[in-house]
Amino acid sequence: MTDLATRTTRVAAAPGRRRGHRGGGPRAGTIIAFLLPFVLPFVLFYLVPVGYAVWQSFQVVRRTGGQYGTPYTAFGGFQQYTQAFQNSEFWSSIGRIGLFGIVQVPAMLVAALLMALLLDSPLLKFKSFFRVAAFMPYAVPGVIAAIMWSFLYSPQLSPVVDLLKGIGLQPNFLGPGAVLWSTANVSTWLWTGYNMLIMYSALQSIPQELYEAAKLDGANNWAIAWRIKVPIIGPSIILTTVFSIIGTLQLYAEPAVLRQISSNISSTYTPNMLAYAVASGNNYQQAAAISVVLAVITFVLSFGFMRLTMRRTGL
């Protein structure tokens, strides 16, 4: 500490800087050397592919002289987009994901918030055990989580099915109506603890004095949780919502694994699966258009949600 103090006095005392440049900061070359190791791969592996996908989505494949001519790509305007919008599989994948998101995201976040509030309250014992138990699934890759759950859904292997049959139920987790919610359950299992921990960390950083005044005024725990804690951690709740929206729209691994055991998941079940299926058929331009539409929807929804909530709550 004294070292720092003498150094700072030297800062004040030194009339001229040792290095010959003006303005105090490092040279432009040095700054670039700091930025470039990240910025270069960022440009190459983020910006260039985005630009390439956008460019590709405006191309069409034509052939010289009839069916068997040489194929070449040409500018096609919005043709790929029109084609995507006329594709009923595209709309049903969007609809499925929309339904999934409207139900799964709020259910997961309400559960996460409830758990965070309980862990922050004086009601519980063994708090660190509960915290670790809930966060553990985050360590499990989506593919492996889906494989694990697919055993629990399987009519032959599942102890859950056995137990439910024991009380007279006939569950069919992989049936046409249920499989979407079985997929949603895998996502919920994976991400609830992660979202809970984001909210819990925010709750932990609220100073305790804030509650004292409310308690003196006779507010009970519910009122404190609902009127003080939840509004203060608003930004965290918004953040988890935005991340969840992005994750939902990208859904691929979980339904792809469940497809291996259920015929009720098609190869075009989610927009991402559709894009992959289309690309596998060598129609990269159409796949690019679908990816671009999906990215635009992601941007609009996440920005839109942030703007909306920030205006409402004045955060």
Partner: protein, 285 residues
């Protein structure tokens, strides 16, 4: 203080809260418990015995079958996953730290613009990048190589965002100023002073990126055909797709899943505090 509050709560709400949390804990732990039980069973017992109860202990046999398959390809997948995730997150953390530090500590034109472009990258769905990257990489011959997965993995816009916040919070400007007056170059100052001050937060960035790469599935699936380059996720996915034709593979899928998640879970529990600091700063600022 908590103790005094605790006595004020009614036993009913305390009991209700405990009950609810116990149910949720069962929900989170059940699949992992099931996997542990299933991994110890011989193939026949999987269907014929109750899934949550142990039967014949066959774990070591299952493990040797798993590692013996296709000339030990599972060990290779495990090694690949470690290589992608450890090296990718290591390099990724370093470049995120340099960039985030520069954004926090140096003043230059276009700084805020650059930061918003990088932040916009957080919102880009990474699955949307995989297909165009595949085409770009096939043009350069990178497809089906280690670098096809490694190179895109090192870029983490979220890491830069965290590094900027952490650098601003943990490295005092006075310290940099005095190091400059002592004639230390910016890189020397970064590696000898700032890096050490930022270390706890760099561990957080490393962990987030490690998990991101470890869990990644779509990118390797698009990029790789050669089985010897697969990460565990892709390898187990392929095996899982073959269990209908080769029922004996099922035991190896189960044992392999367990082997691949246990080490990460242990690391998670050991490094818990880094997650909490990371999640708190990421969420609040």
């Amino acid at each position: 203080m908590n103790k005094r509050n605790a006595t004020r709560e009614s036993p009913l709400s305390r009991g209700g809260a405990m009950f609810l949390m116990c149910i949720l804990a069962v929900y989170f732990l059940l699949p992992i418990y099931f996997l542990i039980v299933a991994a110890t069973k011989p193939e026949g017992d999987l269907v014929s015995t109750f899934g949550l109860a142990f039967s014949h202990f066959n774990l070591f046999q299952n493990l040797s079958t798993l590692f013996g398959r296709e000339n030990g390809i599972f060990a290779m997948w495990a090694l690949n996953s470690v290589m992608y995730a450890v090296l990718g997150a290591g390099v990724g953390t370093l470049i995120s730290a340099l960039c985030g530090y520069a954004l926090a500590k140096f003043k230059f034109r276009g700084r805020e613009f650059l930061f918003s472009v990088i932040l916009g990258g957080v919102l880009v769905p990474t699955t949307a990048l995989a297909l165009p990257l595949f085409l770009l990489f096939s043009a350069t011959g990178l497809v089906n190589t280690y670098f096809a997965v490694f190179l895109p993995s090192i870029v983490s816009p979220f890491g830069v965002y965290l590094a900027r916040i952490f650098a601003a919070a943990s490295v005092p400007d006075e310290l940099l100023e005095s190091a400059r007056l002592d004639g230390a170059g910016e890189f020397r100052t970064f590696f000898s002073v700032s890096f050490r001050l930022m270390t706890p937060s760099l561990v957080t960035i490393f962990l987030f990126q490690f998990v991101g790469i470890w869990n990644n599935f779509f990118l390797p699936m698009v990029m790789l055909q050669k089985e010897s380059l697969f990460p565990i996720t892709l390898g187990l996915y392929e095996w899982n797709g073959q269990t209908a034709r080769v029922p004996l593979l099922q035991v190896s899928v189960i044992t392999g899943s367990l082997v691949s998640i246990l080490p990460v879970i242990v690391v998670f529990i050991v490094l818990q505090r880094f997650w909490r600091t990371g999640l708190a700063s990421g969420a609040l600022k």
